[in-house]
Symmetry: C2
Subunit: 96 residues, 2 copies
């Protein structure tokens, strides 16, 4: 969380997540179910970083994801988080 | 379609789309419901191009999308297409 600004705004599939604590609470459960990831592409300049990767989780084996970060004063102030929630919803439904 | 290789492989949320004709048939309906788009970020090198944008469609107003293209001999041979299908499914269900 060293590089996350206190006032980070993350545009996530289910809606906007605002603030470092909310962001940590939002990403925590995902991090816990992560079993690995393959990097697809990474690019960036002084202000923007784009990461495309294929995370593997206990729920969904392939969950291609894009994160597009805006950096200001060395901290991430904004993030677009893009992935398809559909297979996660299906896996959760199957598990219940 | 000038820049699409005959043998393009597109990893789409619902599964793999193989071949230029299948790719055209797959993207056509999306293109038809597009009303606009805002570019979020674009990066690339000799082999890879990443495009992050926020398309606006008649079904869903904001549908953040990532496309990560692999280019060979001037043509797109592979594409990762990443977006959340959830709001489209919800809008379709609502419309029926």
């Amino acid at each position: 969380m060293t590089y996350v600004a206190d006032g980070i705004v993350c545009e996530a599939p289910a809606g906007r997540v605002v603030g470092a604590e909310a962001y940590r609470a939002f990403l925590g459960p995902f991090a816990q179910m992560l079993t690995g990831a393959d990097l697809i592409a990474g690019f960036g300049d002084d202000q923007t970083a784009v990461l495309v990767y294929d995370p593997h989780t206990v729920l969904v084996e392939h969950a291609p994801t894009d994160e597009c970060f805006t950096v200001s004063d060395g901290k991430i102030v904004h993030s677009w988080l893009i992935f398809d929630r559909t297979p996660f919803a299906a896996a959760r439904q199957k598990a219940t």
